[in-house]
């Protein structure tokens, strides 16, 4: 699905906020950290089964 122009407007609004607020990282940290935490959880679930471990290998492109 193609994103509409309101998405790009949000990218602009947020960039301006970051540029003008030195403490932007405190706002962004929970969002960035939660993505890693959720992704780690998903990998851990995959890693519990043989099939899942094979999928992880595929995801990682091991030769």
């Amino acid at each position: 699905m193609e994103r509409d122009k309101t998405h790009l407007e949000q990218v602009e609004r947020w960039a301006i906020f970051v540029r003008e607020n030195p403490n932007w990282k405190f706002k962004l940290k929970p969002f960035l950290d939660s993505q890693i935490i959720i992704a780690r959880r998903a990998y851990e679930e995959l890693n519990k089964t043989k099939e899942g471990r094979e999928k992880i290998k595929l995801l990682r492109g091991r030769k």
Binding site: E12, W14, V18, W24, K29, Q35, I56, K63
Partner: protein, 189 residues
């Protein structure tokens, strides 16, 4: 340059710790998505892109040993000779994570052409990010994202960087770089 621990994200800590080891062995740059994220772009990423100078196998073995000591492991192989001979020297990237963690990953590859080499020569620490690591220049990141990568997220990353550095970006440098990217990577004249 290091800030209070509360402000650093999981990604920030991972990247700074990894780069601290790498810098002792070889010149590197962090480029692409993490440059935008370190400037506040609100999107996630699982991997951070690092380009390093081409080094001998002996030098790489030492680098790998120190990464191992610092708690990192390579996803492709635990044997550094294999990592070097099967992947790096053939132009393929390898991925390191913290031992026992699936994410984030540092994706490392050797320089592949004069454009990569020049990015390493002109690498810089960027005060805005408050991170003690070397990045490729903002202009080169914008040029690569707009000219070579071109996915929606890349164009949005470039737009974000353009807004952060509005009035401070060297457009002539970006345009020259775009032409060189066309020539070197696509054979355009």
């Amino acid at each position: 340059m290091r800030r209070g621990i509360d402000e650093r994200t999981i990604l920030d800590k991972f990247v700074e710790d990894f780069c601290e080891v790498v810098e002792k062995h070889v010149k590197y740059i962090i480029c692409s998505g993490f440059v935008a994220i370190a400037h506040g772009r609100s999107r996630g990423t699982e991997d951070i892109d690092m380009i390093i100078e081409k080094i001998s196998k002996e030098k790489f073995l030492k680098l790998h040993r120190d990464l191992d000591k610092a708690g990192f492991e390579c996803m492709q192989s635990s044997k550094p000779e294999e990592i070097y001979e099967i992947y790096l020297i053939n132009g393929d990237s390898v991925r390191y994570t913290l031992k026992g963690e699936f994410l984030p990953e540092m994706e490392i590859k050797f320089v592949k052409d004069e454009l990569d080499l020049e990015q390493i020569k002109t690498r810089q620490k960027i005060p805005f990010t408050k991170l003690n690591i070397f990045f490729s220049s903002i202009e080169s990141n914008i040029a690569f994202k707009e000219e070579l990568l071109g996915a929606e997220k890349d164009l949005e990353d470039a737009k974000h960087l353009r807004i952060i550095y509005q009035g401070k970006i060297d457009e002539e440098k970006i345009n020259k770089l775009k032409k060189r990217i066309g020539a070197v990577r696509y054979g355009k004249r």
